[in-house]
């Protein structure tokens, strides 16, 4: 598979503190890459650089082989779908109005068609005209994903997209993501749930203290950790250590 997104030496500093230190990885077309790390590892900062919220201090990004500067070039951000950790929806608007607003904001050519597909992806056709504030957590999470899929972006960044959802909605989101992947879209997926990552991701990149510790399939990582055949959670703990990470912060 060819690299859809290539990250080379990505570095970001909060003042003197290095939050992301020369991190390099790639996401291939149709691939789901899991980005794991303890709290404060630098995952959110790295994703913020990728989606244009932060300007990297150093490093180069490329998309489909061309230079990628989402922070400086708004048009580059159209290549990305972003599923934030928060339920980034307008509670006072209906599901349809939310989708329509974001579709227009992203300049989607046939916004109404995109809205219809978004509602189908979220399984919310029957609740399309209800306000989001009347939805359950699972319904909101599904809609959160559908908003990110508007405009068919080649790459979707998912930041813990399944926090607090019931098993049915979780399964629906899994299936939705797999459907999007089957369409050839790339995924960069962060989560603290090893189950989710094992089920969804082809490869895993593990970050700790701002640096990339290891990259590979779950089996390859287990080999690197000296725990062949171990599950991802054991491998993760072996690679990142068992000390508590209570530093918090925005990284």
């Amino acid at each position: 598979m060819t690299a859809l997104l290539a990250v080379d030496g990505l570095t970001f500093r909060y003042g003197a503190r290095v939050a992301v230190d020369a991190v390099s990885f790639e996401v291939r077309r149709g691939e789901a890459l899991g980005l794991l790390g303890p709290n404060g590892a630098g995952k959110t900062t790295a994703i913020s650089c990728l989606c244009g919220l932060l300007a990297p201090a150093a490093g180069a990004l490329s998309f489909d082989g061309a230079s990628f500067t989402p922070h400086a070039t708004p048009a580059h951000r159209a290549r990305l779908g972003v599923v934030p950790q928060e339920l980034a929806l307008y509670d006072g608007l209906t599901a349809r109005e939310n989708l329509l607003f974001f579709a227009r904001l992203h300049g989607v050519a046939d916004a109404q068609d995109a809205v219809a597909r978004g509602l189908a992806l979220a399984g919310l056709e029957s609740r399309a005209d209800d306000r989001v504030k009347t939805f359950s957590g699972g319904m909101k999470r599904r809609l959160n994903l559908a908003v990110a899929a508007l405009g068919d972006p080649p790459l979707t960044l998912l930041d813990e997209p399944m926090v607090g959802v019931d098993p049915q909605s979780r399964n629906h989101i899994f299936e939705s993501i797999e459907r999007l992947r089957a369409d050839g879209r790339g995924m960069l997926y962060t989560s603290h749930s090893m189950d989710e990552v094992e089920r969804l991701c082809d490869r895993v990149a593990i970050m700790d203290r701002g640096t990339l510790v290891a990259t590979g399939t779950a089996a390859e990582l287990a080999e690197q950790a000296g725990l062949p055949g171990a599950d991802l959670e054991r491998t993760f703990l072996e690679l990142t250590g068992r000390s508590l990470r209570d530093e918090g912060g925005s990284a």
Partner: protein, 454 residues
Amino acid sequence: MIRTALLMVGKDLRLFVRDKVALMLAVLLPLVLVTVFGTIMSGMGGGGGGGGMPAVDLALLDLDDSATSRAMVAALADMDGIDLDVRAPTGDADADRAALRELVHDGDVPFAAVLPPGFGEGAELRLLRDPGRDLSQQLLMIGLVRALFEVRGEDMAWELQNRALAEAGIPEEWMARVEAFTIPFRAAMESLFDDADAAGLLADADADGSAADDDEDADTGPDFQDIMMAVLPVEAEDVLPEGRQSNITYMVSHAVSGMTVMMLMFSLVGFARSLLEERDDGTLRRLLCAPIDVRAILLSKALGSWVVGLGLTLILFVYASMLFDLDVASRWDTLLVISAVTAASTTGFALLIAAVATSDKQADGLSTILILVMSALGGAWMPLLFMPEVVQTAARFTLPFWSIDAYQSTFWNGLHWTDPAVLRNLGVLLAVAAALFVVASRLFRRRYTGAPAR
């Protein structure tokens, strides 16, 4: 960028309108405040609006019970500025006086008056007063003098003359000399008035007044102020700017302007705070990740806030025109321009609060303090003419001052928005609006996009 901003304005306005409680508060609260303050202010500063002076409590004991004393009681009872409490004599005059004194002493009433036996023949009214109530006493004295003139008529003028001579040092025994030449003069004057009355000339003089004056006189007798103005060596000319209604007081139009400007600031800060809500809800992150110019986000908040501000202002003025008969229709263009500029400057202020504050609570605290201080200093609560000079100077550093002054320029002085005096205010407001928006925009970009605050 404009298209994107308009798209977001549509979303914000839809959300604003759908939050019924917030919408009701945004509209209803200013209406209630305008009603309350306007009604209070209509009782100050004279003029129409059912106003006049605030009432002063006065207990009264009539120990004379003559036609003159009863007329005095009736005259005082008719005074708008006096709330009269007539005490019935018990037959024990000393006990009645003591009871009256106790009322004042205990603070039940600030003033009490005794019409002593012989009041009808010229005995002096005795006033018991609570010292330190200067303003109330001045208001009471106006009422007492009016009543005395009404019941004693021309006698009052002669009495005042004698008292003035005594005050000047003329010995009492010399008063006989004064009377020697004033009594024939007085008799001659009375004869003159009798002849004029018989000839119907006095009635003709009354007829010169307007119908409204006649009605008013029928109820309350001759207008004291008119009498004083007529006999004093002063020529008064009423200068009513073109377009000003004579039934609107300065205080009413000021209250409407002041409350409108203050409530506009509260409402628009509430609207601009949606920026903080978007940040907390995560939607701001989603907007920032969208393929749009980030400046469009702040621009959309500015446009939305301006539209809401303009709408609220116009609603308030239409409401005030219905409630207080304020003339809005004939000066709609000036009000529209001033309101548009006021909404723009207030929007700049609101955006700055939203950009500076890092939490809802910060925005609440900061905006409440700033709005209340600026409103008080800027004259939103009380006209600056009642305030010390230092406050009047400080007022010029507040937004409300320039807006209220512009509104008063049209409501009170009848100026058009093209008048240099109004244009100066509009210029200041626009300059402040631009400066605030630039600062807010830079703070916003630095805070949310990591861009340097250049």
